[in-house]
């Protein structure tokens, strides 16, 4: 099946975005030298914890105290991942099975609702408003538009080109602003985990007299 203009633009945008992220990561900052201090714990164990159990809502006070916001954030990001997968699948030109399309639509609708709720919270909460910059709202709206586009495309294939155009805009914008956290979140968690893992702080403190883990 020949690629439509919107699919071609989307493919190009995704390639540009990927290249931009690779460049950003390479030019991130001065490489960290290998540490000299003797470890107290395991950097690898800390990194594993940061990328797995640290996501569990009871493991961090911020998620325990703000369960609704944390849950909304998780649902939003799950929906975004599904939306990106749907976008990539659209490049194959093949339809998804209808039940899967409908399940996806439900997820995207939930994610969209969560995104809008977080947007409203940012507007309504004075402390959060003080913390925000204009781009926070713009990025939230752009993601919301992509989720809405994905939702529409799941429900009606005629909306697919529009979804692909929005997807292309999202891909091109992602390396520029706060949406770049989608890549740097993983990088950040890895550094975080290695730092606190090495110091024996996470995932669990060692017992005195015990050999350093790892």
């Amino acid at each position: 099946m020949p690629l439509t203009p919107s699919a071609l633009v989307l493919a190009a945008a995704l390639a540009v975005s990927a290249a931009a992220f690779v460049t950003l990561r390479r030019r991130l900052g001065r490489p960290l030298p290998a540490p000299f201090a003797e470890p107290r714990g395991s950097a690898a164990a800390g990194e594993r914890w940061a990328l797995t159990a640290a996501f569990l809502p009871w493991n961090k006070e911020s998620s325990r105290h703000h369960a609704a916001s944390y849950a909304a954030g998780l649902l939003l990001h799950t929906a975004i991942a599904a939306m990106v997968a749907r976008l990539l699948w659209s490049l194959t030109g093949r339809p998804l099975p209808r039940p899967l399309e409908l399940a996806l639509a439900a997820l995207l609708a939930t994610g969209l609702a969560c995104g809008l709720a977080l947007f409203a919270k940012r507007l309504a909460n004075p402390a959060l408003r003080a913390l925000s910059v204009p781009e926070d709202y713009a990025a939230n709206l752009l993601v919301g538009a992509a989720l809405a586009g994905g939702l529409a495309a799941c429900l009606d294939p005629r909306a697919l080109p529009a979804f692909q155009w929005i997807g292309a805009a999202l891909a091109l914008y992602a390396p520029l602003g706060k949406l770049r956290h989608m890549v740097f979140l993983v990088t950040s968690r890895r550094f975080w985990g290695r730092f606190f893992g090495r110091r024996g702080v996470k995932p669990a403190p060692p017992v005195a007299g015990e050999a350093p883990r790892g």
Partner: protein, 434 residues
């Protein structure tokens, strides 16, 4: 003569350009300003001021980073939340880094994204330092330590005289003529370093360490010259000064040929020597670096100390110094020691990694311009202490002890603040005062 602003800005931006490491840059790029870190910060809990939200404080660096290191920040700074390195921006950066943050790292452990705002604030200090905006008191401590070898300018003769007097007093108190506070002893296994405030204001904690080492049969020594474990260079993110201060102790330890450098109860001193010094000096250290808290726990585990907890009948609670616990990994040892040394030990809520900063960390005690804010930031700690009903607060950090003493008076807590060594010394049944 007032310095031209653009010189300071140029130096701050050069620091941003040259010194930003990939970890801190990843943190700057990962923050989504969700604000969920707000109530992890004792300063925000005490003030409710949005400027004290960890992400907001980190934004002071992020705004400059975006302006000079991102495309969007260059072409649409207002939209991207980027700003020029103006005089106001650098002042705000320094205030956020030195006046509103103790770099305690509690926000780091609770950031839902998984980044470390405290690391960003440490970088903010580095930029502020490059721009000549280190609080005067911190800079004065650095200058004095550079000039005299310790941050209080104590002369070698005074050190020897104080230790000699303390040794005599110890012998009188314990009735044990063999007890010593050895100084510059060659062949010692352990080199014990102090906070100079102990020599000036808290000599009992030195006596306590002497009793404990004596009871454990340790072969140890103090130094009459390189005794200062503090490192205000670390507070100021002045790595040249920080490396110089820790380098003195490392060289002295190597001269003495010790197996173990034991750091008296001091959070930042422990962190500086245990974790940061090898990085500043660019090499592994040929001896072990431990906190005296770890040493006491080891002696107890080895059966080298006999303690009678009934000698400490009052209820005792424990403060967790940020640099010892969250940034040092020494978490359970102090608890094991206290459980063996006191009759009634009660934890604060929250405790361990989640304990709140006393409010005086990060060198804030030396920054008199932020004194009022420091006392206000101590309120969550005061509330924690009051809730325990304890009469004694054990704090394995002299910096924390100073702040806890102040909040004790300010919030009328009516507690006594002690080092763990002092509590242990009171419970000693061999070599102790009883």
């Amino acid at each position: 003569m007032a310095e031209r602003m653009d010189d300071a800005a140029r130096r701050a931006l050069a620091a941003l350009e040259d010194r930003l490491d990939e970890r801190t840059a990843a943190y700057l790029n990962a923050c989504v300003r969700c604000g969920l870190c707000a109530d992890s910060c004792h300063v925000f809990l005490a003030t409710g001021d949005p400027e004290t939200i960890p992400a907001k404080k980190a934004e002071r660096v992020a705004r400059l980073y975006r302006r000079y290191h991102t495309l969007l920040g260059r072409i649409a700074p207002r939209f991207a939340g980027a700003e020029d390195a103006s005089d106001e921006a650098l002042d705000a950066l320094a205030t956020a880094a030195f006046g509103r943050c103790t770099v305690c790292g509690r926000c780091a452990l609770h950031c839902s994204v998984g980044l470390d705002p405290a690391a960003i604030l440490r970088f903010a200090r580095l930029m502020a330092q490059a721009a000549g905006r280190v609080p005067k008191g911190i800079q004065a401590s650095i200058d004095l330590a550079r000039a005299t070898g310790n941050n209080m300018g104590i002369a070698r003769e005074d050190v020897i005289e104080t230790l000699s007097w303390l040794e005599e007093d110890l012998r009188d108190t314990t009735g044990d003529a063999s007890i010593q506070l050895p100084v510059d002893r060659p062949g010692a296994r352990v080199y014990y370093v102090l906070n100079p405030r102990e020599l000036k204001f808290f000599p009992l904690s030195i006596s306590a360490a002497g009793m404990i080492f004596h009871a454990a049969g340790e072969n140890w020594t103090l130094s009459s010259t390189d005794f200062d474990l503090t490192n205000y260079g670390m507070f100021a993110a002045d790595e040249a000064a920080a490396g110089e201060f820790s380098g003195r102790i490392v060289r002295r330890a190597e001269e003495l040929g010790v197996e173990e450098l034991v750091v008296a109860e001091c959070g930042h001193g422990y962190r500086a020597l245990r974790w940061e010094a090898p990085e500043w000096l660019g090499r592994r250290l040929p001896f072990r670096v431990t906190s005296f808290v770890e040493v006491m726990a080891r002696y107890l585990a080895e059966g080298r100390l006999a303690l009678d907890p009934s000698r400490n009948p009052a209820r005792v609670t424990l403060h967790d110094p940020c640099n010892l616990v969250r940034h040092g990994g020494v978490i359970e040892e102090q608890r094991r020691v206290l459980r063996a040394a006191v009759a009634d030990f009660v934890e604060m809520t929250p405790n361990r990694l989640d304990n709140y900063c006393c409010g005086g960390g990060g060198g804030l005690l030396a920054a008199s311009e932020h004194a009022a804010a420091r006392l206000e930031a101590g309120r969550p700690k005061a509330d924690q202490i009051r809730a325990t009903g304890a009469k004694v607060v054990a704090a394995p950090c002299h910096n924390c002890i100073d702040q806890l003493g102040e909040i004790n008076r300010h919030y009328k807590l009516g507690v006594e603040v002690k080092t763990i060594a002092e509590i242990v010394a009171d419970a000693l049944t061999t070599g102790g005062p009883g």
